[in-house]
């Protein structure tokens, strides 16, 4: 049972991470590419970390929950990174598939 759970988590983690990177490579403008890594990858790593937690908690040396910390950290930081990247892209006026927002100087 444990092994199935682990396998699922590992596979899901790897898959989401892969999909995130795939989006990065595949999508056609920066803003859409931005979505892949910030979400899929975060969840992918999250799954992987939970898998690790489960794995090490069941090795007899007590609970291993410190992986949670990495997840927590990623969940706090990834959005900020994405936000800043988007902000930079807007500042640089990168080409966009979506109609670009009005350039209100107050919004720069």
């Amino acid at each position: 049972m444990l092994e199935y759970l682990l396998s699922f988590l590992i596979l899901a983690g790897a898959l989401f991470t892969f999909i995130g990177s795939l989006g990065l490579a595949r999508l056609r403008d920066f803003y859409t590419r931005l979505h892949g890594p910030t979400k899929a990858t975060t969840l992918g790593v999250g799954c992987m970390l939970i898998a690790s937690s489960v794995y090490f908690s069941n090795r007899g040396a007590g609970m291993s929950l410190h992986e949670v910390l990495v997840t927590l950290f990623l969940f706090i930081t990834a959005p900020i990174s994405a936000h800043l990247l988007a902000k930079a892209a807007l500042h640089l006026k990168l080409e966009s598939l979506a109609p670009p927002p009005d350039d209100d100087p107050a919004n720069s």
């Binding site: 989401f16 999909i19 995130g20 795939l22 989006g23 595949r26 999508l27 056609r28 403008d29 803003y31 859409t32 931005l34 979505h35 892949g36 910030t38 979400k39 899929a40 975060t42 969840l43 007590g62 609970m63 291993s64 929950l65 410190h66 949670v68 910390l69 969940f75 706090i76 990834a78 959005p79 900020i80 994405a82 936000h83 988007a86 902000k87 892209a89 807007l90 966009s96 598939l97 979506a98 109609p99 670009p100 927002p101 209100d104 107050a106 919004n107 720069s108």
Partner: protein, 162 residues
Amino acid sequence: MKMLPHPLLTPILAAIWLLLNNSLAPGHIVLGLLLGWAIPLFTVHYWPEAVHIHKPLTLLRFMAVVLLDIVLANLVVARLILGRPQSLHPAFLKVPLELRSDLAIGLLANTICLTPGTVSARLSLDRRFLLVHALNAPDGGAVIATIKQRYEAPLKEVFEPC
């Protein structure tokens, strides 16, 4: 100087300390509490404002919603990425903000980033609008409404109940 500048922070840090050490040994509990007390003392000046959580339960519910949305969001995004890129309808959405505190706005922005197909791209300098990029938003208005109702409202309740 207050001896306990952030009463909430002390147990959180102590807990994180135990997480880091993967241990519940009494020594680590003592040390964790010690650090949980000392670090806020040193970093008190760095905190933007006193954080007051008015409705802890709402916060918890909000967190659960977000967690769920994260999972869903990933599925959605995964589908979109694996699908035909040409079929996407990306859009920039301007979300008017009612939140005022930095922390709350930040939390909202982060939440938007983590949840279905949206990335918060820019906060206007006057902090009244959040520009959001949506991966696939044929109906922009609906997305804005969801954001405001699903995320902004609970956050406002928790942090700015006035």
